[in-house]
């Protein structure tokens, strides 16, 4: 059995800044980005097969909790990241929209699987051809279903987005225009 020394464990590095005796000065963006990206509270909106792969990702083998997402939130009011996993039918579209609207800013959306990204293999009258028809999406994870490693890669990309986001993004006119294009105020 191999032993792991404490300095082998990877921890998140501190951002760039000026360090001194008992103080560390950096920009607020970086500190807030660091804190937010490593403590995401996801909302697993699992509808079908991708949901089972998500359950495997949360399991012990591919542990998602190592990246800070230990606490899943099933209430949209308390969640940061909406993970849509599985096919969204047209009957489910309004429900998804309501869940997204209830989330407080800042919020991000991860679309897991081919069905959530573009309708997948179900090019039929009853399936919504991608959730970006109803809500804005940040990261798409293709696959049918994607392997747990791919889902974790998607989460890492979301973490990268969160870390480098400007604090004023949610008030900017571009973001407001994006939401308006979806009809969300």
């Amino acid at each position: 059995m191999e032993t792991v020394a404490l300095n082998d464990v990877k921890v998140v590095n501190a951002p760039e800044g000026i360090q001194g005796a008992g103080f560390f000065a950096t920009s607020l963006d970086k500190v807030v980005g660091l804190a937010r990206s490593n403590s995401i509270w996801p909302l697993p909106f699992a509808t079908s097969c991708c949901g089972i792969e998500f359950m495997a990702t949360m399991g012990a083998h591919y542990d998602l909790a190592r990246f800070g997402s230990e606490r899943l939130s099933f209430s949209p009011r308390q969640a940061d990241l909406l993970m849509v996993m599985g096919t969204i039918a047209k009957k489910m579209g309004p429900v998804l929209r309501q869940v997204y609207e209830q989330m407080a800013e800042p919020r991000w959306v991860l679309s897991v699987g081919a069905c959530a990204s573009s309708g997948g293999i179900f090019d039929t009258y009853s399936v919504l051809q991608g959730i970006d028809r109803v809500i804005p999406v940040d990261v798409y994870v293709p696959g049918c279903p994607p392997r747990p490693e791919q889902i974790i890669d998607g989460i890492l990309k979301i973490q990268h987005l969160i870390q480098n986001e400007s604090l004023r993004r949610r008030d900017s006119p571009e973001y407001k225009a994006l939401l308006n294009s979806y009809g969300i105020e």
Binding site: K90, K91, S118, G119, D123, T124, Y125, S126, Q129, G130
Partner: protein, 166 residues
């Protein structure tokens, strides 16, 4: 070739409902009877209660659209568990008015199966406690499994049909 039990079933049905049977065949080993639509519930009730043919398990029921004959067929499949015998009954309804009595009085399982057939083909089951759409959205106007309706949603703009040979 039908087995003895199956021949006996056909005999019993012929005695009471001989004029309703249009055709008898056994494709791939399952006895299949095509019947007229008027007395289908009595026939199924007879098959349910008669001690020699105890078809007391409803395996499935579904609709089939035949565009060439302008008919919608409803297929009932029953199973006699003690004797391990299966039977398939088909009735044919005209497409202008596809209506037949409901089976929910005999089998509770027929409730959602008939709703699904209504949702997909528009078959009206008279006497059904709650006949409304089950799988599609409630305000859908068409019956999507009929052959004249396309599979894809025609209003989607992100898939280029020309590239897929449609």
């Amino acid at each position: 070739m039908e087995s003895n039990k199956e021949l006996r079933t056909i005999e019993l049905l012929n005695e009471k409902f001989g004029d309703q049977i249009l055709q008898t065949e056994s494709p791939y080993g399952m006895l299949t009877l095509s019947l007229k639509a008027e007395k289908i519930i009595e026939i199924i009730q007879f098959l349910y209660s008669n001690e020699e043919t105890q078809f007391q398990y409803l395996t499935t029921l579904c609709g089939i659209h035949f565009p060439d004959q302008n008919q919608i067929s409803v297929m009932y499949q029953l199973h006699n568990l003690p004797a391990n015998q299966r039977i398939r009954l088909k009735i044919f309804l005209p497409i202008e008015n596809p209506s037949t009595p409901t089976l929910t009085g005999i089998f509770a399982a027929a409730n959602w199966l008939e709703r699904e057939t209504f949702d997909f083909y528009g078959v009206i089951f008279t006497g059904h406690p709650n006949l409304k759409r089950i799988l599609n959205v409630d305000d859908m106007l068409i019956f999507p499994m009929r052959k004249e309706y396309p599979l894809e949603d025609q209003r989607r703009e992100d898939k280029n049909d020309a590239l897929f040979g449609r």
